[in-house]
């Protein structure tokens, strides 16, 4: 049937006594290799690849829109920072989806059976997925910066690169990372693509409704709402793409830390706890 030789098992026991398996010469799977595999899993299906392409196309589209409409004749808003800021809207929606699918596709397609038999250390696998998600977030940031730079140079608005520092890049990177991690957190929490995505998009809507109805909630919003807490980071409302004027001081960092704990750290912790003790079906 096949000319290929059957693989020779590594041990050569004789029939008889039960043998033990010598694993002393086997090295554990390196973390970097696992991260590489998790990254590959994100682009080796049509769905994963198209999500990546969509992120790139949407990022470019928002930059182009600002390029066309950013100059109203009086002030030219087409600066590098504004171009970068406008990419936060599409990326803010799509990167979390990527984070969600990174986790949930393993459960919906049941490949978790294979993943956890090849790498039984489940925490190790989730850590590798987290790093893979952050790598993608970083790649999205680099892409956004490249598009913004090209657009800013082309627009040639007065002072296009003024007031821009390394800290802005860091803050923008932090925003993208938080987005990806929030998706990952929701994915881990629900282990179901549809539920995680719906909840991710419905929660801010519900929150906005509640904020308008309950006054004390409005005051608490920066502490408990991640989107509100993130606004000072880049001076842009990530949901509308409109500039907001908020300073970024110690209190704002506290807001961010609190909201991050509620929406990212706690869901990841609960999700991890569940995955570590549950049956991998």
């Amino acid at each position: 049937m096949s000319a290929a030789a059957t693989p020779a098992p590594t041990s050569h026991p004789t029939d008889g006594p039960l043998r033990t398996l010598d694993v002393s010469g086997t090295k554990p799977i390196p973390f970097v290799r696992q991260v590489g595999v998790e990254l590959r899993k994100m682009v080796d299906t049509r769905a994963g690849l198209w999500l990546m392409v969509t992120i790139a196309v949407m990022t470019a589209l928002f930059v182009v829109l600002l390029f066309i409409f950013g100059d109203n004749g009086e002030t030219d808003q087409r600066t590098f920072v504004n171009f970068l800021g406008t990419t936060s809207t599409p990326q803010g929606f799509l990167l979390p989806v990527l984070g969600i699918l990174l986790v949930t596709s393993e459960w919906s397609q049941r490949t978790v059976l294979v993943t956890f038999t090849l790498t039984p250390r489940r925490g190790f696998v989730i850590a590798a997925k987290t790093v893979a998600a952050l790598v993608i977030g970083l790649a999205a940031l680099v892409l956004a910066m490249a598009f913004a730079a090209v657009a800013a140079v082309a627009a040639d608005a007065p002072g296009a690169f003024d007031g821009f520092g390394v800290d802005d890049v860091a803050k923008f990177g932090l925003l993208q990372s938080l987005g990806v991690l929030q998706g990952l957190a929701f994915g881990l929490l629900f282990l179901n693509s549809a539920v995680a995505i719906v909840v991710f998009f419905v929660v801010p809507i519900v929150f906005n409704v509640l904020v308008n109805l309950i006054s004390w909630l409005r005051d608490a919003a920066p502490w408990i709402d991640l989107a509100t807490a993130q606004q000072p980071l880049i001076g842009v409302d990530t949901q509308t793409g409109l500039p907001v004027d908020v300073a970024l001081g110690a209190e704002q960092w506290l807001h961010l830390a609190t909201a991050t704990t509620i929406w990212i750290v706690v869901p990841i912790a609960i999700g991890m706890w569940r995955i570590l003790r549950s049956e991998a079906k």
Binding site: M1, S2, A3, A4, T6, P7, A8, P9, T10, S11, H12, P13, T14, D15, G16, L18, R19, T20, L21, D22, V23, T26, K27, P28, I29, P30, R33, Q34, G36, V37, R40, K41, D44, T45, R46, A47, S105, Q109, R110, T111, L113, V114, F116, T117, L118, T119, P120, R121, E279, A280
Partner: protein, 299 residues
């Protein structure tokens, strides 16, 4: 090589695996046989660290599965051939496995050739694969790391008779080179063709285990009459057992001469009367699982 001792797994009040103990030796293909829901899959999932035990232990070569570094290099596992991302190509599925284990991509080509998946088939997405092709891909995946132990859950499911014959040759060859194989099946015929040793399980308990030769050796008599009900009734009236063997005949513990005498006395015309040796595992399987098999769950 595989040692399971006093293994028990309960889900709430349900006992899925009940005090199961067995061993699988190198050079042998061990068949794990039982009706659906008997506890085969749960046992294999515990063996591969996917499910926790309630009691007892399951080790491979003296190690808990989770303690084996890069386990794919030591233990080849196929638990569910359908548990693959439908959007990946067959080649990609193997590539992911090879990368995780740190193997060169040439290994992927070798395995594809071994399981007779053509380059064209390997480029197709798994969702377009038949169950038989998925099983071949799963076998290829299990063998990627050149392991010395194979754990395969229902690997022959979906294979045609030629495929089952192929798998028998593959696993026979693998075992002859010193490999240890544990494979499960709910179909007697598959196991009878492929395995050397048998573990028969029903409702979480082991009901028989031994070599195929030992289990095939049955004493007693096989009898078949034109009137099945009459011969069964006659045997029972005379204090002899009459177990249906699935083809209209019956197996009895009594000697052929005694059965013939009863038939003559009762005036029942026999179609067949002979010693029951070589009657096949089918009879044993029906017998062993008849009482434990769930209603309507045909094996």
């Amino acid at each position: 090589m595989i040692t399971v001792e006093g293994l028990t797994k309960t889900f709430g009040d349900f006992v899925a695996v009940d005090d199961v103990s067995f061993e699988c030796r190198p050079g042998r293909v061990t068949g794990f046989l039982g009706p659906n829901g008997a506890g085969k899959t749960t046992t294999m999932r515990i063996l591969t660290g996917l499910t926790r035990t309630s009691q007892g232990s399951a080790t491979i070569g003296g190690h808990r599965y989770a303690d084996i570094p890069n386990p794919g290099l030591h233990v080849g596992v196929l638990l569910d051939a359908s548990a693959q991302h439908g959007g990946r190509t067959g080649r990609e599925v193997l590539t992911l496995g090879a990368r995780t284990m740190g193997l060169p991509s040439s290994r992927v080509d070798e395995m594809l050739e071994l399981v007779s998946l053509t380059p064209v088939e390997a480029k197709r997405r798994v969702k377009n694969y038949s169950l038989g092709m998925r099983q071949r891909l799963g076998i290829a995946h299990a063998l990627l790391g050149d392991p010395s132990v194979l754990i395969l859950d229902e690997p022959a499911n979906g294979l045609d008779p030629a495929g089952i014959h192929w798998m028998r040759g593959l696993l026979r060859d693998y075992a002859n080179r010193g490999g240890t194989v544990l494979l499960s099946s709910h179909l007697l015929h598959e196991v009878e063709v492929i395995a050397d040793e048998l573990i028969v399980i029903g409702q979480g308990r082991i009901v028989a285990q031994g070599t195929k030769a030992e289990l095939l050796q049955t004493a007693g008599t096989y009898v078949r009459a034109a009137d099945s009900a009459a011969i069964a009734a006659a045997l029972e009236t005379n204090g002899m057992t009459a177990l249906p063997s699935g083809d209209g005949g019956f197996r009895s513990d009594a000697e052929p001469a005694q059965v013939g005498k009863v038939a003559a006395e009762e005036g029942i015309a026999l179609v067949e009367l002979r010693p029951a040796d070589g009657a096949g595992l089918e009879e044993m399987f029906l017998q062993l699982t008849a009482e434990t098999q769930r209603e309507g769950d045909a094996a």
